[in-house]
């Protein structure tokens, strides 16, 4: 199967082309099933390649490159369109295609009846293709191709309902903010190319140890700027909450499970560079990650839009992953990426099911008591909640715990930030579950309109009974709930009661990629791991209890200050800077262009005209006449040339 790697991205590309050509004929739901089938096929190939790799000795699993053709060959630059199959890229392929297939299927139900149904799947398959190019690329430029591709698809899909200005603006904002990060990615490539003469990961990573530390630091940190854009970290996270304007399956697939993890993937991919870089480079990454995790968690506490809570939560969880990367815990970062993909996709799809049931109402204050009407959605959502809150034995517990362990080893401060974030996470997720599924039903008390924008304009209120979603939507929920429940099994810690054959499986699998660069835990931290896990569970319990007291028992008044609801005013501040001094500077340039530079031209023209006033009487002063004269002269010259000199 190893020589079939190319099929993994080619199948969704084929889906894209099929829908491009026959989308209207396939229609609703045909186009959706075509798209889903091709992603399922891609998943099947991924499983096959995975099995192939698994059958090899651990030492032989890395570095299988498949070259398709020379893409950009010029001068010293030689870039192939080539794929790299190794444990890391296959891990990514498996969960991108696996979760992607489930979300495709879900979307067949969710998008039913939309007038641009087939176009939705056109974009979705193009996205799957781009994402797979991103993770399979054997050099930075192919990854960048996918990187920009997923960004473009994200733009299309956020602005999918483009008649709505807020959606159009959100799409544009996502693209442009990401471009800031792309600048960093490009700079990283420039440094890498001139340092080692290639953009192949094998060469760049292999040459890391031999580079000047400033070079490896520059490459790593510029890559991190790119990662901050794509993975929504401070200070570039701004676009992700707005991206919720897109249809909910898009939020689940692109803005929770797959695309936003691309930055984490990139950092893990270049882990030898991080290892070779100056020690402040990983520290910077860990600090940004921890800060983002805490920042976004505080904001999530005060959101009322069901999807906004999840959006800030995603930013926060991505922060954990970068905390892991900065702490040298690459396996933990990937582990959390995978478990997060399970439970966050689940939560988003669950929220989509709720929104669907609520006739596109997204304000949680208008929900409540939905667990009886939407039993399957409620149960699966609760599984997702327990997973993200870090309750054992759900998947999130294991992966978050592993990150906190490494953070503890890196710095107690980072650990403390991570712990507080865990507490807040348990708190805001419990709040969400209570507001949506428990308490009193609020969907009839219409009248007072709240701010949250529905997936469609003019969300209904009042006279309806929420209903459970169709099977195509419920099946993915159940599957993902199962994964969120047991997903932790891929990387269990080495505690005495866990059979050693089950422990550290992901770590062993990723060994060839991170070996020698992954941070080695100190003895001290290692011994403490059981204790730290208990502390983490304690935090989760405290967070859940607090939220129950506030939102279910109403013992304490909710603390939802406006400043948190507004995301600490950061978005507003940035918008203000762009809109005022930024806009004025741009206006200034346009003014200078018209008045100063072009003004000088016109001024010179006027001056010449005045000075030439006298001479002018002798001449017509009409450019047209000059031009005609030159034209005639030229034609005569040519004629003489051709006829007179007999050139032909």
């Amino acid at each position: 199967m190893l020589d079939l790697i190319w099929l993994i991205p080619a199948l969704p590309l084929a889906g894209f082309l099929l829908i491009l050509l026959f989308g209207r004929k396939l229609g609703d739901p045909g186009a959706g099933y075509v798209a889903t089938t091709l992603v399922v096929a891609s998943f099947a190939v991924s499983v096959g390649v995975f099995a192939d790799l698994l059958s090899l000795e651990a030492s032989e699993r890395a570095g299988h490159v498949q070259r398709l053709f020379e893409w950009v060959p010029a001068g010293a630059l030689h870039i192939d369109l080539a794929f790299l199959a190794d444990p890391l890229s296959l891990t990514m392929c498996l969960f991108v295609t696996g979760i992607g297939a489930l979300i495709h299927l879900y979307a067949v139900g969710y998008m039913r009846g939309d007038e641009r149904f087939s176009k939705f799947f056109l974009y979705l398959n193009l996205f799957a293709f781009s994402m797979l190019m991103l993770v399979l690329g054997s050099n930075m430029l192919v990854t960048f191709l996918g990187w920009e591709g997923v960004g473009t698809c994200s733009y299309f899909l956020i602005a999918f309902w483009h008649e709505r200005q807020s959606a159009a603006t959100a799409g544009k904002k996502a693209f442009i903010t990401n471009r800031v990060g792309d600048w960093g990615f490009m700079m990283a490539m420039f440094f890498a190319f001139w340092a080692v003469g290639s953009l192949d990961y094998a060469v760049v990573n292999g040459g890391a140890a031999g580079m000047a530390p400033t070079t490896s630091t520059a490459i790593a940190l510029f890559c991190f700027i790119g990662a901050c854009g794509k993975s929504a970290q401070l200070p570039l996270y701004l676009w992700l909450p707005d991206a919720m304007e897109g249809p909910t399956p898009v939020s689940a697939l692109i803005h929770a499970a797959t695309m936003v993890t691309a930055g984490v993937y990139l950092m893990v991919r270049i882990n030898p560079l991080l290892d070779a870089a100056n020690s402040y480079a990983p520290t910077v990454i860990a600090i940004v990650g921890a800060a983002t995790a805490l920042f976004a968690a505080t904001v999530a506490v005060a959101q009322n839009d069901i999807k906004k809570v999840l959006a800030y939560s995603t930013v926060s969880q991505l922060g954990y992953m970068f905390l892991a990367v900065g702490s040298g815990a690459y396996v933990a970062a990937i582990f959390h990426m995978v478990t997060h993909a399970f439970f966050k996709a689940l939560l988003f799809l669950g929220s989509g099911s709720v929104i669907h049931a609520m006739h596109h109402q997204q304000d949680m204050r208008r929900m409540g008591a939905l667990r009886k009407l939407l039993p399957i959605t409620a149960i699966t959502f609760i599984v997702g909640w327990l997973a993200i809150a870090g309750v054992p034995p759900f998947a999130g517990f294991w992966s978050k715990d592993e990150i906190l362990l490494f953070a503890y080893d890196k710095s107690p401060v980072l650990y403390a930030v991570g712990l507080v974030t865990a507490l807040l996470t348990a708190y805001y997720m419990t709040r969400q579950v209570i507001m949506v599924f428990y308490g009193k039903a609020h969907w009839h008390d219409a009248h007072e309109q709240h701010g949250a924008a529905g997936d469609y304009v003019g969300s209904a209120a009042g006279d309806f009974t929420p209903h459970e979603s169709p099977k195509t939507m419920l099946f993915p929920l159940v599957m993902l709930a199962g994964l969120a429940l047991v997903g932790g099994i891929i990387q269990l810690p080495s505690w005495s009661w866990i059979p050693s054959s089950l422990a550290h499986r992901l770590e062993n699998w990723l060994g060839p990629i991170v070996h020698g660069h992954e941070h080695e835990l100190t003895r001290d931290a290692h011994d403490l791991s059981g204790t730290l896990a208990l502390v983490a569970v304690g935090c989760a319990v405290v967070g859940i209890t607090a939220a129950v007291l506030v939102y279910a028992k109403h013992k304490v008044k909710p603390i939802e200050p406006k400043i948190l609801a507004d995301g600490w005013g950061y978005d507003r501040a940035v918008s203000w800077v762009m809109g005022n001094p930024g806009r004025r500077a741009f206006d200034g340039v346009a003014w200078a262009d018209a008045k100063v530079i072009d003004g000088a031209v016109d001024g010179t023209g006027a001056l010449v005209r005045k000075a030439a006033g006298q001479v002018r009487k002798l001449q017509s002063g009409n450019v047209r006449n000059y031009a005609a004269a030159i034209g005639a002269a030229v034609v005569l010259l040519l004629l003489w040339f051709v006829v007179g000199r007999g050139i032909l």
Binding site: A74, A76, E148, I176, D182, V196, V589, V623
Partner: protein
Amino acid sequence: MIEFPILTLLVVVPAVGALLVAVISKRHPDLVKVTALGASVLTGALALWVLFAFDKSDSGFQFASRHAWIKPWGISWHLGIDGISLFLVVLTGVLFPLVIVGIDPHRDHKRYLSWMLLLEAGVMGSFISLDLFLFFVFFEIVLVPMYFLIGGWGYEGRVYAATKFFLFTMVGSAFMLVGIVATAILAKADNGQVTFDLIKIAENAEFAAGTGRWLFFAFAIAFAVKVPLFPLHTWLPDAHTQAPTGGSVILAAVLLKMGTYGLLRFGVYLFPEAALWARPLFFTLATVGIIWGAIAATMQSDLKRVVAYSSVAHLGFIVLGTFALTTTAVTGGVMQNINHGLSTGALFILVGMIYERRHTREIAQLNGLQQVAPVFAAAFMVVMLSSIGVPGLNGFVGEFMVLVGSFATARWWVTIAAAGVILAALYLLWAYQRVFHGEPDEANSGFAELNWKEASLLLPMIGLIVFTGVYPKPMLDRIEPSVKAFIAHVEERSNYHEPAPAEPVLVELEGEG
């Protein structure tokens, strides 16, 4: 052996076509159109033939044709084509028939087509002349039809725009004429006789450093105006905006390239030492142009002016690459000439189609077009993404090569120039949102969808945009040898050495042989 004079025909066919169209009576409008189309298609076919017959292993000038013209002055009809000019010729050959058949000037077809064909002859001649004097003649010919096309078939401010275009370029040309004559005379001692032959002068002439710099600037000013390089660019938005669609397309796609091509072929090639000396200046102007043009584009209220200013930014990349003087950067710059021609040409066509339907180019008057004309919007989107430089489409490949190649010799400029990619997304996406997104109002709700004729004009361009982005190798394979020879020439004639990256070392991975 007398070879088939294919390059001469590239000039003569459109010139004769222009003459025929001019003499055919107005009473036979169809004959006029068929003649014009025939001449341009024939030229296009010849250009394609050149493309397929081109020997990619040969870095020198091919299909050369040389005849003495004015012997005592050493002026000759010397034509030749290499990897640097090849695709410019092909682009010219392919684009003219598309423009002639696909874009309707609405009135006085006879004169319009006649000027168009003369324009094509001039452009072709400029790209294949290897004699300074001959080049100058073609370079000047181009001015005339363009002037009349803007002035005769343009929009409300056409007279001002045409005059500005003409005067700007004429002033530049005056410098170049002086430069050409001075170069030939000063090179006499080294050549043994007066000659205007580009290759002879480049190979033999030894200019004193000071002299070389003066001469270089005489050429460079003319080309900088044509590119246009900041701050000599203000004629461009007016000319672009006021020109009829066909004129804008040709102006952006090929006319501006006479500037970037000229800088490379005449400026740097003849005076490598001076060019190296002037590099910081050109890096700076190019980079300022990239940022300045993008910012100015953002603030325009006229859709056509947005595209026009985007040209200032895009051409900045080409100039940056040209002066960076690494094989990767120069090859990228040469390629970017073509990429910009395709994507900006297509953008002008699309803006022209919007004008045809709505009789306005004001962004504020347009909205919600994606809802009423999704296919039209999709075509605009693909072309726009190519202009933004999204990988997988043509614009990215050239831009990336320019930037990565220039990083060794112009690190800080590249750092700033690369930020231009952020701005490119800003001005285009913002314009797109205002024009295409949202609900269409009454005036826009009747906006007609792309029709078959329009689609057949855009499809070949979009096809090339995608093909070149995915598989640029055939193009790069033909450009690169000539660029290598060009850089070798620069190295030989100055103390420059092209920097090379470290030799890539593939560290043995675990498990591999």
